[in-house]
Amino acid sequence: MLAEVRHRLLEMHSLRAWLGVLLSATLLLVVLPLSNALIPANSALHLPDYLIPLLGKFLCFGLSALAVDLIWGFAGILSLGHGLFFALGGYAMGMYLMRSMAGEGVYRSTLPDFMVFLDWKSLPWYWHGFDSFPFALAAALIGPGLVALVFGYFAFRSKIKGVYFSIVTQALTYAAMLLFFQNAAGFGGNNGLTDFKRILGHSLQAPSTRLVLYVTSGLALLLGYAACRFIITSKFGRVLTAIRDAELKIRFCGYESTHYKLFVWTFSAMLCALAGVLYVPQVGIINPSEMQPSNSIEMAIWVAVGGRGSLTGAVLGAWLINGGKSWLTAAFPSAWLYVLGALFILVTLFLPKGLVGAWASLVRRRAK
């Protein structure tokens, strides 16, 4: 039994690669938090408090990049709608955070402020249950999962593929954004949900809460990575790649490709929703702009720049681009979209396998 587990782990990664994962995880999950919590603030090695939610946000982006890479890089399904699943997860979390502060809003009502403002007298039915954290968490994953399942069922069954599929996902996300913008939809309209106070009784402003959220995001990323790795190194993963390369042929080999696509698509959506769940308490707001087309497209760009089909590349791409974005939008606010667009074009033209792919071929050339 133990030997089998060991064997499977070594299939997922070489020993060296596992050491790399372990090292990165230690750095992100142990060293950085400790340098924030234990090293005095005047030391150069101290990680300032304000960076913790920012880095936590990056971890969430890394997780959603994994979700996009899993379906795009391995199954050839380009989603331009993962912002929807991210936002749905985020909204479910936001609903819990709103409910957990009932009576403490500006209006001192048991209803969220925006409902009081709209002169609503009671909670809409779909807000019930969200005062419970486990319920909200379950809804945050199952809800987007169901949306993905139903959408995927019809899309894959109708054999919608390639760019058409991408366009439909984009349209779906856009439609959802328009819906969430409506005040009557009951999700706070264009302001969304914000002014959260606490999570599970802990103040969201407290450095310790933020640190715990950061570490939780890191663990989620690590587990998400391991899960994706497990999937792609199993026969399931080989079937996915075969679907990407020759779907008809794999069907003639006896695989119902629709089931495979549906499974991985739904799993990916739930992974992305988890990223949204962890994102919202760290940034303190969720609103419909998370569903705007550019957000979903950006996720695809992270993966393309980092290198699709490599998982680590997707995460690195997400970090690099968001790091660049944080810096550039402060230094030259109007230039960001141009830089992003140019970067995407350059990478597509000159580094079709992204940065990780380029690095790998450089190493290979060196070795020769």
């Binding site: 075969a242 390369d245 008809l248 042929k249 069907r251 006896g254």
Partner: protein, 304 residues
């Protein structure tokens, strides 16, 4: 009475060839309307029972294509086509371009749904035209495409692994492990198609001929009862062609092999039984020598 004898003759002939189902049913109806004698009815019953009994190896039928019609925008790609295949035979299907050869393959494998007609396998329990590609594959029909189609990103070994007979479900693929028997089966297949020493090469990097063999190897791993092979020697040189001929001949016998081919030289090399399609239906059927001398065939195909 002359008419009646003719109907009886048809039944007898159909019976000998094991033709049943709708064709028989139709003959039966015809017989009734003609007031067929009890003897003829008996012979029909015998014909039917001989099908269910394990007949001698070469009389057992494995595939029935019955009155299949497929039209694309009014053009009849297949026109009331009826065809049967015997267990273990190697059948070549030839015909000019547009005769419906590839459409026939598409119908049998579930890629194309016919407007009318049915396709049955072995025990005739289900009509294949109501199933999906993967369900048909699971019942034991394998197909090799016209252009060599292998999974380019995977190694030769992995290509065979994917084709291997066994559970093809999502959860089995996620958590299942490959057993020793599976490995040995793949080794055996790679040995047969002569790709043992290339097992770790990426299939996309193989030479054209090797891809064709890998694809045949994948079909072997799939272990189908009926193997449909679309233009196996397209783009091959003579040496490769001969090897392929040997390979296909070896496959026939234990399984039924159907080869669609344009290359007449190759057909002469391998053919035992040839079916000529023309404008979506069967024009002639028989041994190669007979087909070659059939004036209708010469007119539409060989002479052209």
């Amino acid at each position: 009475m002359g008419q009646s004898r003719e109907a009886k003759g048809k039944v007898m002939r159909d019976g000998r060839e094991g033709m049943v189902g709708r064709a028989l049913h139709r003959a039966g109806l015809a017989g009734k309307s003609l007031g067929l004698t009890g003897g003829a009815a008996l012979s029909m019953a015998q014909a039917e029972s001989s099908l269910h009994a394990p007949a001698s190896k070469h009389n057992k039928l494995v595939l029935w294509v019955e009155e299949v019609t497929v039209s694309f925008d009014g053009f009849k790609a297949l026109n009331d086509l009826t065809l049967t295949l015997e267990q273990g035979e190697l059948r070549c299907i030839i015909g000019p371009n547009g005769a419906g050869k590839t459409t026939l393959m598409d119908v049998i494998t579930g890629k194309t749904r016919p407007d009318r007609g049915a396709v049955y396998l072995e025990n005739r329990l289900v009509d294949l035209t109501t199933l999906s590609e993967c369900e048909i594959s699971a019942l034991g029909i394998g197909r090799k495409f016209q252009r060599p189609t292998v999974f380019g990103g995977h190694t030769v070994f992995e290509n065979c692994e994917l084709a291997l007979r066994g559970s093809k479900g999502v959860f089995h693929s996620l958590f299942g492990r490959m057993g020793r028997a599976d490995r040995e089966r793949i080794d055996e297949v790679l040995e047969t198609v002569g790709l043992s020493d290339r097992r770790h090469e990426r299939a996309g990097l193989l030479a054209h001929g090797h891809k064709q063999w890998l694809e045949i190897g994948m079909l072997l791993a799939q272990d189908p009862k009926v193997l449909l092979v679309d233009e196996p020697v397209a783009g091959m040189n003579h040496v490769e062609m001969e090897r392929t001929a040997i390979l296909l001949n070896r496959l026939a016998g234990e399984r039924t092999v159907v080869v669609v081919e344009h290359d007449m030289e190759f057909v002469r090399q391998i053919a035992r039984q040839v079916t000529v399609l023309h404008e979506g239906s069967v024009l002639a059927e028989g041994p190669m020598e007979k087909i070659q001398n059939d004036p209708r065939v010469i007119e539409v195909y060989l002479g052209a």
